[in-house]
């Protein structure tokens, strides 16, 4: 049976891990995720969760030990933020290379301070991990549970991050519905390692290891397979989201994007996470003033749902992308991905870039209204400058 509780986002994350019956938790503190691993310690200490909990000496070991555990045969979970995520960059590649479906919560923290932005996760975007962003604590809990099912699907078998903005979600309390354990058990089957890492499987392991080395194969094949798994993940994400909605009554668009107020829109803005949440109010206000502008919340950043943007791009005159990140020397990362997805279209929409919320700078309803209005002017054919704006 589900029940409601007013809780902070970090606790919702802990509940996701608990409901998923994770078996191995390497724990290391870093603001603003620390309380996640503390909640888990309490749950284990009180007998509410049966898992091996290891206070590791750093995030690199957290990820590398999760690799060992997942390979050996148990469901592994960890949580981190900002610099901790960067510190584990090396083993993150090893985990995805080994096709292990580890799930990790990332509570966003800037790499230039403690406040939130998406630089931490974006710095890891090439590690072949799924990346799913959340706008509120309920979504954190739900996405955490879904992440295990998606990652462990035979068609995917890639590790997954589910994430949310630090402080804004991690420490803010709001009502969250916690599904019942039996309902989650019916949704999420137990984990099975695909690696024959047991003494009695020595022969199978040797064959497996040879295949892992890609001996005698085109060396590019290993990357190609990971890319194909990423592509397959789009379908799996939508399927799992649909099933989750049927069982638990909560849906998040098609799992890849969620459109808000886009019917008949002439322009849309794109945002991730809590900025998308605030944007809903901005869109409501603008609708109240008769403006035809909608919000596309990007929920899955990896794999990037380019098809969704081609579809949406065909219906609007302009897209304003809000990036809570920047790749210095190039530009906003979501902006680049959106543009790229639109390139082959005839009559593609205008695209505008907005940097907002980096280093935790506050993003207000009024800021988003201005972003949306500027995007609408671009949609109407007006020459708007600058195309790139720091909000």
């Amino acid at each position: 049976m589900s029940h409601w509780e007013v809780m902070v986002g970090n606790k919702a994350v802990a509940y996701a891990a608990k409901l998923a019956r994770v078996q191995y938790i390497p724990a290391f503190p870093i603001t603003p995720q620390t309380t996640i691993v503390q909640y888990l310690a309490d749950m284990i200490a009180n007998g509410d969760l049966d898992a091996e909990y290891v206070t590791v000496e750093g995030e690199l070991t957290a990820q590398a030990s999760a690799l060992g555990a997942s390979m050996a045969g148990v469901r592994a979970f960890t949580a981190t933020s900002g610099p901790g995520l960067l510190y584990m960059h090396h083993p993150m590649h090893a985990v995805s290379g080994a096709r292990l479906p580890i799930v990790m919560a990332v509570i966003h923290r800037s790499v230039k301070g403690m406040q939130p932005d998406h630089m931490d996760m974006m710095a890891q975007r090439d590690t072949s991990w799924l990346m799913m962003e959340c706008e509120n604590s309920q979504e954190l809990l739900d996405t955490g549970v879904m992440a295990f099912k998606i990652a462990e699907d035979e068609r995917v078998r890639l590790p997954a991050i589910f994430s949310g903005d630090g402080y804004i979600l991690s420490y803010t309390a709001e009502p969250v519905e916690i599904p019942g354990q039996e309902e989650v058990d019916a949704f999420l089957p137990p984990y099975r390692s695909q690696v024959p890492m047991l003494p009695e499987l020595a022969k199978e392991c040797r064959e497996y290891a040879i295949a892992q080395w890609g001996v005698g194969e085109d060396p590019q094949l290993r990357w190609r397979r990971q890319q194909e798994a990423m592509d397959a993940a789009k379908t799996v994400i939508s399927e799992v989201n649909e099933e989750f909605e049927e069982r638990f009554g909560r849906g998040y668009g098609n799992g890849l994007v969620e459109e808000y107020g886009c019917e008949g829109a002439e322009a849309v803005i794109v945002a991730m996470g809590t900025i998308a949440s605030t944007a809903r109010t901005a869109i409501d206000n603008l609708h109240g003033r008769g403006k035809k502008v909608g919000l596309v919340k990007l929920k899955t950043f990896k794999p990037f749902p380019a098809e969704e943007f081609r579809r949406i791009g065909g219906e609007v005159g302009a897209i304003g992308v809000i990036d809570r990140n920047i790749s210095c020397g190039s530009g906003g990362i979501v902006f680049g991905e959106v543009r790229s997805s639109l390139y082959e279209m005839n009559g593609r929409p205008r695209t505008l870039e907005f940097y907002a919320g980096l280093c935790g700078k506050e993003v207000r309803v009024s800021d988003i209204e201005r972003i949306a209005e500027k995007t609408m002017r671009a949609a109407s054919g007006e020459r708007v400058t600058p195309l790139v704006e720091w909000v």
């Binding site: 078996q23 191995y24 390497p26 898992a51 091996e52 290891v54 206070t55 590791v56 000496e57 750093g58 690199l60 070991t61 957290a62 990820q63 590398a64 030990s65 999760a66 690799l67 060992g68 555990a69 997942s70 390979m71 050996a72 045969g73 148990v74 592994a76 090396h90 083993p91 590649h93 090893a94 290379g97 080994a98 690696v195 024959p196 890492m197 047991l198 003494p199 009695e200 499987l201 020595a202 392991c205 040797r206 497996y208 290891a209 892992q212 080395w213």
Partner: protein, 298 residues
């Protein structure tokens, strides 16, 4: 306490294929054969970057993951998983090089020892990063010539004496720490037999001379290893629970280090003063070991 096992008592069953891709005369290959003979079909193996992947003739399951610094972490994850799965029959062990143990792997080593994780960490120590061509590690003997501590007008090989990792690990209070040598197989096998079924963190550090990196003819691998032990450059001892230390090889007199160093091309340049410096250090350490033998570690 471990007990040496006579060679005649060992069976003929092997758990490793003959011949691998390692250099001629590789002590690491001898270590791999001896470890697999003792651990048989009861273990899973951890590998990290080192010459170890050349030891792919070992039968125990192993899948290489590219995390050089992660031996301690990965073995932690594996052993915790088997515990969660109710598989306490599985022995988790790794044959790790000195680099992956004493340098880049040191953090993971210390932390796993501190947590008393349940696995067996075996070091085959060839005193440098041999897989990448022979760069110094903190396990390299002082004054050795390596590719990053070469001999030149301004450089006399590695400046620092070797870091005493076995004693450092023993100070974590773990169930078992031992040093061993390929030249003393009965002693090494006895230590492996003892360690294999102890629960908690076990550490066996094996001196494994490398003909390619230490620059001697491969036929002398065992002779050099024997010299390292007989001169006190690599004393053989074990420490139980971080408390009691016991020498397992106690010659009446140590061989002069000079003879042993001169067997190795990496010391070809060494001066009498440098030899004396090493001799003083070795003699002093040996005397302290003798004084503590059979008693408390400190």
């Amino acid at each position: 306490m471990s007990k040496p096992i006579p060679l005649a008592k060992l069976g003929d069953e092997e758990f490793i294929d003959p011949a691998n891709q390692a250099c001629q005369g590789c002590a690491g290959s001898i270590v791999a054969r001896i470890v697999s003979k003792v651990l048989r079909d009861r273990w899973v193996r951890q590998e990290v970057a080192c010459c170890g992947p050349a030891l792919s003739n070992i039968w125990a399951p192993s899948v290489y993951a590219e995390i050089f610094e992660g031996a301690g972490a990965m073995m932690t994850g594996k052993s915790r998983a088997y515990k969660a799965m109710g598989r306490d029959d599985v022995i988790v062990a790794g044959i790790i090089g000195d680099g992956g143990t004493v340098d880049i792997g040191f953090q993971g080593l210390s932390a796993a020892a501190e947590r008393n994780e349940n696995f067996l960490w075996i070091v085959y120590d060839n005193e440098a990063y041999m897989n990448t061509g022979g760069q110094r590690s903190s396990a390299t003997t002082a004054h050795a010539s390596t590719t990053t501590t070469p001999i030149g007008a301004l450089s006399r090989g590695k400046r620092e004496p070797r870091k005493n990792v076995p004693l450092m690990v023993a100070m974590h209070g773990v169930p078992y720490v031992a040093t061993a040598s390929v030249a003393f197989p009965e002693d090494l096998i006895g230590k492996l037999e003892y360690a294999k079924d102890v629960k908690g963190f076990r550490f066996i550090h094996i001196s494994s001379p490398c003909p390619t990196g230490w620059r001697f003819d491969p036929r002398y691998t065992i002779k050099v290893a024997r010299g390292m032990v007989q001169s006190g450059l690599w004393p053989l001892y074990e420490v139980i629970d971080g408390e009691t230390i016991r020498l397992t090889y106690k010659p009446r007199e140590l061989r002069p280090v000079r003879e042993v160093l001169k067997m190795q091309g990496r010391f070809r340049h060494i001066t009498d003063d440098e030899v004396d410096e090493i001799q003083r250090r070795v003699t002093a350490f040996w005397e302290r070991l003798i004084a503590k033998d059979g008693g408390p570690l400190f």
